[in-house]
């Protein structure tokens, strides 16, 4: 088994008296998919926010490639190779789909101001490469024909896909997907499952928050169950499915 790329060690974060995330440990490895499930308010998104630097965890550490990155600001976390999508879509609504993707390549360009103002060959090459990469990503998520459309004009399902393309444009090694299938119809959900499946072949470590149990059970390598900020269980899908505590807290009888 490969070494973990992204790891949380005893992570804790509270809001007032509420322990939103309490003593969480997790490890994300390249090419594997770890799902985080749990009822609403279990602390899943807070956990993601702690991992990506939006919140500063109060206890515990976040490690990337063995390096302590606890409390690093979000853009540093992104530069290291951790990209994410958001539960409530957070695209740049007034920008075109293409520009949304291009934004995420910001830290790949090492242009000086005069390169930009004088449009030096270096600048042109860099922009061309980024444009080609962005178009490739758009094509891959099925948005090639809508590159010039404003993000706000895209359908809900396409906006979710655009978010994934944007996250990938940052060339991450760890991808955090926060409910990518929320509010989608079954056909769209299947489309996202296929996308995620191809992502895993890219040797990305994927963290997934999802409520569609079918999706989670189908594509996860491991599952982490949260409830009230605490890790209830962690293990392979089959073990989670039969864990009595998890069934009581979250899955219910239908699982």
């Amino acid at each position: 088994m490969s070494a973990p790329l992204l790891a949380a060690r005893g992570l804790g974060k509270s809001f007032g008296g509420l322990k939103a995330v309490d003593d969480i440990n997790l490890e994300a490895r390249p090419g594997s998919l770890l799902s985080v499930i749990g009822p609403n308010g279990a602390g899943k998104t807070t956990l993601f926010n702690c991992l990506t630097g939006i919140y500063r965890p109060e206890r515990g550490r976040v490690e990337f490639n063995g390096r302590n990155i606890t409390g690093a600001p979000p853009h540093r976390v992104c530069h290291l190779g951790i990209a994410r999508t958001f539960q409530n879509i957070r695209l740049f609504p007034e920008m075109s789909a293409l520009d949304n993707v291009l934004v995420a390549q910001f830290h790949h360009s090492t242009l000086a101001p005069w390169d930009i103002i004088l449009r030096t060959p270096g600048f042109r090459r860099c922009e061309r490469e980024h444009l080609a990469e962005a178009m490739e990503l758009l094509e891959w998520v099925g948005l090639a024909g809508k590159a010039e459309a404003q993000a706000r004009d895209l359908s809900y399902g396409l906006q979710r896909r655009l978010e994934i393309a944007r996250a990938l444009a940052a060339r991450p090694r760890v991808l955090l997907l926060d409910e990518p299938c929320a509010g989608m119809n079954p056909a769209e959900v299947n489309g996202i499952i296929e996308l995620i499946a191809t992502l895993r072949r890219r040797e990305l470590a994927i963290l997934l928050i999802e409520h569609h149990m079918k999706v989670v059970m189908e594509i996860s390598d491991r599952i982490l169950v949260l409830d009230h900020g605490v890790a209830l269980a962690e293990g392979e899908p089959a073990a989670i499915r039969s864990n009595p505590e998890v069934i009581r807290a979250y899955l219910g009888s239908e699982a």
Binding site: P73, H75, R90, L91, L102, Q105, F106, L111, E127, A167
Partner: protein, 401 residues
């Protein structure tokens, strides 16, 4: 009938009458012996007011009616849309600059001066558009940076006799940027209204500082040595030199800012405007990029301020009045937030309309601010994105590849 009474226009006019009633229709009569104040009927103020206001209201009403009832509105809007597309064309700014330059020698000193002032406003609008339009940071104290440029040069030429505007310009540009950076530093944790208030505070305190320092001449202001002003060059009179200089600078600035806009930097600014958190998570160093926007914007204001001082030969604390800041902001909004040709057009309209009005209808100049209000309301109703706003961004590089 009741339906018509509830029409927004009727309600608006009624509200305007109600609000202005005490100021326009009544006059306070003081009786000093008895120490009483009484309101008396005095409609002459109102009559003057409405007589002067009529053309303004007429224009607004005409636009509204045209939009509401005329079949011509749609083709007009379409036509405007294609005009907007033209402003995005590569040759457009070049033609504009060349036309302005060619017109220079034929303009009298009065119009040259107007041209210089308009150009200085364009320079400021272009600069402010970076922070407000692109990066989405509301700055209410922009005139503070403008005044900084003016005073930096005015004080500089006192301390260093022999200083000329062309030596000072690059230095003041950089210094203006540094001041912008410094003012930006404590503001970075603030968003929206708070940032606006801090920048406003900067402009106000800078003005108070200038009013109270000895070297700046206090309230009286500071006159430049004649040699420090923009000089005539050969057979070209000084005003023509200033005019050519300003036209070229506006062109150069618009060109530079446009290139920044269509680059990773410009995209980062817009991303910050759209969603700061998402931008940070996509690897944009939000704080640094905001500071850069702030500094660049301040640098343009400082440059405009220096040119103003070097052209007029005089600076006083009125340069950083709140009205000045709001004026430039209105120009940016009128032209269309984030639009570079829009900033230039907005500056031209909001400078030339009141100035020409003052020439042709002196009575109207008192109602300048009211006119701004009317223009803004008409614009928000007809074209909320600004005159030249939201032109689809073309991808230059894609055209080349």
């Amino acid at each position: 009938m009741t339906r018509h009474l509830k029409h927004p226009a009727v309600v608006g006019v009624a509200g305007l009458l109600l609000i202005t009633f005490p100021f326009l229709w009544l006059k306070l009569r003081y009786n000093y012996q008895e120490g009483t104040v009484a309101a008396a009927w005095a409609p002459d103020g109102a009559i003057r007011f409405f007589r002067n206001l009529a053309p303004v209201l007429g224009v607004v009403l005409a636009v509204l009616l045209a939009r509401r009832w005329s079949m011509a509105w749609r083709p007009m809007a379409k036509g405007w849309e294609s005009a907007v597309a033209c402003t995005g064309h590569r040759a457009f700014p070049v033609i504009l600059v060349l036309t302005c330059l060619a017109a220079g020698p034929f303009l009298g000193p009065k119009y040259l001066t107007m041209g210089v002032f308009a150009g200085l406003f364009m320079l400021q609008a272009l600069g402010l558009n970076i922070t407000v339009g692109m990066a989405g940071l509301l700055v209410l104290g922009y005139a503070g940076f403008y005044a900084f440029g003016s005073y930096a040069y005015a004080v500089g030429q006192v301390l260093l006799p022999g200083l000329r505007w062309w030596m000072a310009a690059p230095v003041v540009f950089v210094l203006g940027g540094a001041v912008g950076w410094l003012v930006g530093l404590p503001c970075l944790r603030l968003r929206g209204d708070y940032l606006a208030i801090v920048t406003l505070g900067f402009a106000e305190s800078f003005r108070e500082l200038m009013r109270n320092l000895e070297i700046t001449g206090g309230d009286k202001g500071l006159s430049l040595q004649p040699a420090a002003k923009i000089q005539s060059l050969g057979s070209l009179p000084a005003s023509l030199v200033a005019y050519i200089l300003v036209v070229l600078l506006v062109g150069l600035s618009a060109w530079t800012i446009r290139r920044l806009y269509h680059s990773p930097i410009g995209r980062a600014w817009v991303a910050i405007r759209e969603d700061e958190t998402a931008a940070a998570c996509m690897g944009i160093p939000v704080v640094t990029m905001k500071l850069k926007a702030f500094a660049l914007s301040a640098a343009f204001a400082a440059l405009a301020g220096l040119l103003y001082a070097a052209f007029i030969g005089f600076v006083d604390p009125a340069a950083c009045s709140f009205e000045q800041s709001v004026m430039v902001l209105a120009m940016v909004i009128l032209g269309g937030l984030g639009s570079i040709p829009g900033s230039v057009l907005g500056a031209a309209l909001l400078y030339f309309i009141p100035t020409l009005l003052r020439d042709q209808f002196p009575a109207l100049s008192e109602y300048r601010l009211l006119l701004f209000g009317a223009i803004m309301v008409a614009m928000m109703l007809c074209r909320p994105q600004g005159l030249l706003g939201s032109a689809q961004r073309a991808h230059e590089i894609k055209g080349d590849a």
